[in-house]
Symmetry: C3
Subunit: 423 residues, 3 copies
């Protein structure tokens, strides 16, 4: 239910036979009373008026121009809203700031939490035709799609799948090496992205390929690779069936790269001694990689969906002296199984998700979560919803829900009660 | 005079009988040449091109959806404009940042001065019906309404009532304890607010009740109360007559609460020794409280209006060792008397306002102000205006107008000359 | 091709004969693959997805109200877009932040790079009639117009004229005193500006006069002048011919002004000893001054254009002890010659520009640049473009293109390949 701001003056000026043009103002305002609980010594509960419990709050402008001959140009500018306190750009799910790719959240110049209105959700210009679409700017990574599309809670609110929370750092810092990933890899969105999308009408096949630039100065030193990455997604949907796979990789070179011994074979910048082949391989192994697969079957009485994801950033034995921190090894994996059950004007939502990190010698931190919710649609634009979730941590994992502080007990429970209004 | 961006495309798609929907883009651009003067040794004058001399500069988006059966859903996103220098979110009257409630102005994530566009003036989603309206997000506190509605200058520009400037910290820091209030209490707006509004058509009665969340972790320690508050307003308007009262209270616990001796009877968090009942009472007395009453009578040839306000944050004798600073005692009160006189296409505005703080043993800082202005309407949307005000300080109060630096003389004079254009 | 958001509801409410009112939402999304190269030891190349390679990316709102009698009120709010990474307010050409006039880019409150959406490009309210237009707010300085209008590349992208890059600090810091100018003078835009524009239909003559306020406290001390300035532009255009001259001056007093010996004859603020007349003259000489002249002739097969600019901030011999830094002397000048050649649906663009700084005793840093580009219009709103430029530095000048790091060789080459879409 978007508003099309019809260009009356333009149409009049251009004549009756002109191509149709429109700019659409759109958005979502989603407010939720969010309560989080934990127990045991040191536990603390929290109650907040939060946003984006069902859908991500946002405001945006988009439009399309018909260029003739099947070609079109279009733009899409969409920013997040912290409508509970009037801020913008706030409460992006953890870990999607793409620190190495684009601006840093700790940099006031950046696409961080709580800056004024920025088009951090999507900011693109496109050219499309029968051959597909080329899209430039900031957009979702191809690997994020399977996590959100095949999550009954759409990676929003207290029921957000652990397969997003986990790799984004949500398993906590105590005793696991996965935590830094969220600040390194490009998990949800990539800035400075060049994307190609397959055209529609390929008999159910769909897909995309993306390349994002870290925008570091390139001179042969590996540190120039930081934040540059690529990924792809290929799917097939027909009738009640939909399945897709994706892969993505973002370069991560240890920071700081030792300028005396850069990890490169050809270095014209400093004239330093070239590293060994083993050192180079070790450096490459530090890149953040993710692949996942997801699918859904619509049985009519219910949609059943699931996905599996794996994230890796290894350090081989040869990393001594390369500048890669010893804590850099990660190998995480998780899965979700969920369902959506239509009930009159509403929908029941349920999911079970789990994520585990292989921390090498020590115990592997892992968490599992059960989430249950109901959405009642007052109209196509307005809905009331309630969600409850409970997470159980093991081996030092520290996922808490809705801002609760974990105590000696390892579980946390969270509730959302809210309203979603779109325009 | 708001623009309704009629959703032609949506209406066409939804069919002729669909419910009416619209999104409105609205705003005000108000620029003023602001000059402030002071005299005596150390005095300094200032001239600026400022904003919001007559009405607060702003830009916003709002809309309503008819849900049928008398129900409606709506949203309102409105941010301030610093149109003199292109910034946004700037020059909010002092003290309304709700530091403890929502984001801090010193926090770059926050709803502070000069951040990029944030919807800091209002950011709400509502559900309404014959039973009234429930509104969630950031909005005016109930107690602010009487100060602005019953001020001929609408708490904007150099003539802004001292009953707002005073409790917000405007009386200065020298020798008075009121100054910190502005950084503590929720005076103008509250974030994370849950509001209920009475329906219209109650025979002239109107009212609202609000509860705002400080969003601190709750574990029984009193510090979790910080920034949480509530307030209400009840009024009656009929014919030329309008009167309203309000009360509001925001929790303020001394910062930092001594973690060794938290002010609480039940503390499962640290296991510390519980405080005495006297200590708890002392802590509660530190909350920021305000109540006020205002009214107006429209005589036709002139509207006469006035209001009285009182703000309190006491410290009882038992606060030794509780962590409440000794300077925490405040007890301020003030009043305004003003008038609006229509003159052809224009309006004369005049007010006298005063505010005083009971500083305990020392002399009580106080200030009084006379303001006079004229607004000339070029149309309903566009007006030219001029305002002059003079403030007189006593006993260490330090209100200066339009950025002048006070000298040894205690008075300050300010002038606004500007244009207000709304869309 | 702007969208006029016709106020249907307003027009209906106001009746059929009401004055026409409209608010226009407009913008440009321009994305470019930007590559910069340099050579020699220490050189480093860079590739980025950037914005504004052809036109400055932006989003804005503007509108006009007919007041009757030939009078109109209007507003214009326009902010820049960093659409490559979703930020706003980013990649304003260097040096236009008007540090002394309005907010500082290092101040998070300011109109700096990368803040959330701010209306940093233009933020004005106007009143106009047969006598011209008075405009209040943030706007271009009169002296910037000749640089951008008479540059084939419109001061955007890798081909931006050195006559802008040079005075804005682009010639680097090594061995030249021009660098700080960009942080001192008001080169591109001024905040807190009061402008007057001549009416149209003066037989081809056009012009403007602007006065911008530094908004420092005025008490007779010269430091109160900081950032205050004025400027004017006068032009004549008829048929294929167009020429304009401009002058601007912004006060710059050495920072910090010595409070013990302020540069003033009458100082009631500190009661300090008044400076000598020579010291005052020296101080005034530190003001940033610029003047330029530009013109264009449209031969039909090609437009030929050029401009000359000079910037000055002197320090006379008497500045010892005045607080003016010894490195404060600058005297820069440069010129551009360029052409635009229409080719079918496209346009070839070419320019040669140069800038030099008289650094006093040492060698004078200077740079020269050749730029060549082609724009292919897919429609009036959408274009593809490619630009190449090469800059040559001498005597310590350090201009690099598209973020390349200069090596021992003094030249840099840059390429833009992009798409511009307006709405």
């Amino acid at each position: 239910m978007k508003k099309s701001l019809i260009a009356l003056a333009v149409m009049a000026a251009a004549g009756a036979a002109s191509a149709q043009s429109s700019v659409t103002l759109f958005g979502i305002v989603d407010a939720t009373i969010a309560h989080g609980r934990a127990s045991g010594t040191g536990a603390a509960n929290k109650t907040a008026l939060a946003n984006s419990g069902y859908n991500s709050s946002r405001i945006g402008f988009r439009g399309t121009e018909d260029l003739g001959g099947g070609m079109a140009a279009s733009f899409w500018l969409e920013g997040s809203l912290g409508n509970d306190d009037g801020t913008a750009g706030q409460r992006i799910p953890v870990g999607n700031q793409n620190v190495l790719n684009g601006a840093s959240p700790t940099n006031p110049n950046g696409v961080g939490d709580g800056a004024g209105l920025v088009f951090n959700r999507r900011s693109t210009v496109s050219l499309s035709g029968g051959w597909g679409e080329v899209r430039l700017g900031r957009d979702y990574t191809p690997s994020f799609w399977n996590l959100t599309v095949f999550d009954p809670f759409g990676t929003n609110g207290v029921g957000t799948t652990l397969t997003l929370v986990g790799p984004a750092g949500g398993l906590g810092t105590a005793g696991n090496a996965m935590a830094p990933v969220g600040t390194r890899g490009v998990i949800v969105r990539a800035s400075n992205d060049i994307g190609y999308f397959l055209p529609a009408n390929l008999g159910g096949f769909y897909g995309q390929f993306n390349y994002w630039l870290g925008e570091n100065t390139f001179n042969g030193a590996n540190s120039a690779r930081d934040g540059t990455g690529w990924g792809g997604r290929l799917g097939y949907g027909a009738g009640p069936f939909n399945v897709a796979i994706s892969y993505a990789r973002t370069a991560y070179d240890a920071t700081p790269v030792n300028p005396v011994q850069p990890i490169t074979t050809t270095n014209t910048f400093t004239g330093a001694v070239a590293p060994t082949a083993a050192q180079i391989a070790a450096q490459r192994a530090g890149d953040f990689r993710t692949w996942n697969i997801g699918g859904q079957w619509d049985f009519g009485v219910a949609k059943v969906m699931g996905h599996y994801t794996r994230e890796q950033r290894d350090s081989s034995a040869g990393n001594a002296g390369t500048g890669i921190p010893a804590s850099g090894e990660i190998d995480g994996r998780g899965w979700l199984l969920g369902t959506l059950v239509p009930v009159g004007a509403g929908e029941i939502r349920a999911s079970y998700s789990t994520y585990k990190i292989d921390a090498g010698a020590g115990a592997d931190p892992r968490a599992r979560q059960l989430a249950l919710g109901y959405v009642h649609n007052l109209s196509k634009r307005t809905a009331l919803y309630a969600t409850a979730a409970r997470v159980q941590n093991r081996n030092g994992a520290a996922v808490s829900l809705n801002g609760a502080t974990l105590g000696t007990a390892t579980s946390s429970t969270g509730y959302d009660l809210g309203i979603r209004h779109s325009f």
